[in-house]
């Protein structure tokens, strides 16, 4: 990696990655200050947000408690629709997580250095979203206290799980994804935890950050291995993230249900996951950068790039919607054709058209630069994309189950209050964790941001020949 990113940015007239007259000291201060704020000075807005999230989390707990007490009958499930909100929410939340890994791993491998200021928050989002996702398969089994049977553990029945079942693949894929993301996130944060340790004033704070920073001292011998380890984690997280949503799609694709049994599912699910995840990242970052004064690090260029990715992935999803119809017609299979006509024009037509409008039509606004640089527009669009992507999973799961081969076994699913409140409560879990993260951990990867600043590159040594940038000289045209 050389120090030419800045030069290229200047040549192409791009905004630099870090704006304003920032040096290493000011970057550290800007990221750490909100985290180091005295507990008594926590802004009221955080308390309000946290209070609401905590209430929703309590709601989730109550709903799950009621579910465990009464059984899955409290949901609107029936025969034929045995999967509805539970698996919809699961796929929705896993999908949200994917953008975090895309930003932290795939963009890292592609040397997209603009990722550095947004990867930490995106990775945190991944972990919290996967936690929300993992809740649903855990609680949707009839006897949740036996969920540990999914793991190949020796126990008295002398049975092993069936490794040819996509549902078991899913267990392995999602657990691996969660653990790998958590390792990636934590290792990436160790140098920043050391920064917080070294800035800590109180004894307790120093102890806590001292323990979690593991005694990191920024030694170059440590940095060398750290960078190798980070690269390897990025390299394995990249196929992993593609595999996770592919495996999730196998849950459907390996069945024989019309509308599920299609080969387009893995890429279609992955594109949708990245699409919804970016929408969630942007939806969270736009307010955060305002509240935490991080506009110079999370710049309009970052936001614009994310809008572009959403435009691209939104079109892929749109292509998949179209291609499903084409394949259904081209297959000559009347059940398959019916499944798709039923999606668009059947009893769930409204869900289908919410999905198409939010996911395909709305993001087209990002063709225009004024929309890609307009914060209220971004907030509205990303919100709608999340709504649309939730409905996508609902449409796939429920419409296919509700009307399969025999009209005599058709049925309709309607959510109960418990269904709706459980979905709402899962947002409580997500936002509680995310707000705790924002309050106590650095939301921008400080050491990585420093590494993309011009002053971070030695001059006149080896082949890193630059023309002598100085700290602070970031203005375009300088």
């Amino acid at each position: 990696m050389s120090g030419t990113t800045q030069e290229r940015d200047l040549k192409l007239g791009r905004t630099p990655l870090v704006m304003g007259a920032n040096d290493f000291t000011s970057v550290t201060d800007k990221v750490c200050d909100p985290v180091e704020l005295d507990v008594r000075k926590t802004p009221m807005a955080w308390y309000i947000g946290f209070g609401v999230s905590l209430m929703l989390l309590g709601l989730l707990g109550a709903m799950i408690g009621w579910l465990f007490w009464k059984g899955v009958g409290v949901w609107g499930l029936n025969n034929p629709v045995g999967w509805a909100f539970d698996i919809t929410n699961f796929v929705f939340w896993v999908g949200i997580g994917h953008a975090g890994t895309l930003i932290s791993a795939i963009l890292f491998l592609f040397r997209q250095r603009w990722r550095t200021s947004i990867n930490r928050a995106a990775e945190a989002m991944t972990i919290f979203a996967v936690l929300c996702a993992a809740t649903f398969p855990g609680i949707h089994v009839g006897r949740p206290w036996l969920i540990w049977w999914v793991f190949p553990l020796p126990y008295s029945q002398n049975m092993w799980p069936n490794f040819r079942s996509p549902l078991l693949w899913d267990v392995f894929a999602v657990s691996t994804y969660f653990l790998t993301s958590a390792i990636f996130w934590y290792l990436g944060m160790v140098p920043d935890l050391a920064t917080l340790r070294d800035r800590a004033v109180g004894k307790v704070r120093q102890m806590i950050f001292g323990i979690v920073a593991l005694g990191w001292r920024g030694s170059h011998r440590q940095w060398q291995r750290y960078e190798v380890a980070y690269l390897i984690l990025a390299a394995i997280a990249t196929p992993l993230v593609l595999s996770v949503h592919s495996v999730v799609s196998f849950d459907f694709a390996t069945s024989q249900l019309p509308g599920w049994h299609t080969t387009i599912f893995p890429p279609y699910f992955v594109a949708g996951a990245i699409f919804s995840g970016f929408a969630m990242v942007l939806f969270l970052l736009v307010p955060c950068r305002e509240w935490f004064g991080l506009k110079e690090m999370i710049t309009m260029r970052h936001l614009e790039n994310m809008c572009r990715i959403m435009l691209a992935t939104g079109m892929m999803v749109g292509y998949a919607y179209g291609m499903e119809f084409f394949t259904a017609w081209y297959s000559g299979n009347k059940y398959e054709s019916f499944a798709f006509i039923n999606r668009a024009l059947g009893p769930y037509w409204w869900a289908y058209w919410i999905m198409v409008s939010c996911n395909v039509i709305v993001p087209q606004i990002f063709w225009f630069k004024w929309a890609r640089t307009n914060l209220p527009v971004m907030m509205v669009v990303t919100f709608l994309i999340n709504v649309g992507m939730w409905f996508e999973r609902f449409v796939i799961i429920v419409t296919s189950l509700a009307r399969d081969f025999l009209p005599s076994s058709w049925g309709m699913f309607w959510p109960t209050h418990i269904d709706l409140l459980t979905l709402l409560g899962s947002f409580g879990l997500f936002f509680t964790l995310f707000l705790l993260f924002l309050r106590f951990l650095p939301m921008v990867a400080i050491s990585e941001v420093k590494g993309v600043m011009p002053a971070a590159h030695p001059h006149g040594h080896g082949n890193h020949g630059g023309k002598g940038h100085e700290a602070g000289s970031f203005a375009p045209g300088h």
Partner: protein, 188 residues
């Protein structure tokens, strides 16, 4: 002076652990590292708030063997998944499903992939910590108040007193000639 850690005074229980030189820019750090390298020191290190590229050569350190360790972990994961699925589903408790073969490799691929990744990830975590000798909550550099800026906005070179070439006077003179913004003695 020998390489043994010497007490700073007879009554002081603290021992001299080495020198710490502080620099304000990356360029100073890299140039100083080249000087220390050329002087033939071994137990020394550079400290920076972010990885400084070009320091490997300036310090004369070799590429790490960490990737080989991680590869071994990944391959262990792969082998584990192959054997685990075969033994559990085809040997110990054979499943007959829809008349399909008892053992079919393609169905095992997803979990082979996942376990390879899982073992690689844990191998990376523990390999990195092990190779870097972390966690290490006690270290001579932590005795310096100044060193707190090593994770923020300053660059440091630490030379440990257990280095065979360490000499209180000569080492100090060497470091003083590298344009440091400060030099400190480390205690342990």
């Amino acid at each position: 002076m020998s390489s043994v850690r010497q007490p700073i005074t007879d009554s002081d229980p603290r021992v001299m652990a080495g020198f710490l030189a502080e620099y304000t820019t990356v360029d100073d750090l890299v140039r100083a590292a080249e000087r220390v390298r050329d002087a033939g020191y071994q137990n020394w290190d550079c400290h920076s708030p972010f990885p400084v590229h070009g320091l490997d050569r300036a310090m004369g350190i070799k590429y790490t063997k960490l990737p080989i360790f991680i590869l071994c972990c990944g391959l262990t994961g792969l082998a584990t998944a192959v054997v685990l699925q075969w033994w559990m589903n085809a040997v110990d408790y054979p499943y007959l499903i829809s008349g399909k073969p008892i053992y079919s490799f393609p169905a095992n691929v997803p979990i082979i992939f996942e376990l390879t990744v899982l073992f690689t990830a844990f191998g990376t975590l523990f390999g990195l910590l092990g190779f870097n000798k972390l966690p290490q909550w006690r270290h001579a550099t932590f005795s310096s108040e100044r060193f707190r800026r090593a994770t923020q906005d300053r660059f440091f070179i630490s030379v440990e007193s257990n280095d065979p070439k360490f000499d209180r006077e000569k080492t100090r003179t060497l470091l003083a000639g590298t344009n440091p913004s400060a030099i400190e003695e480390l205690e342990d």
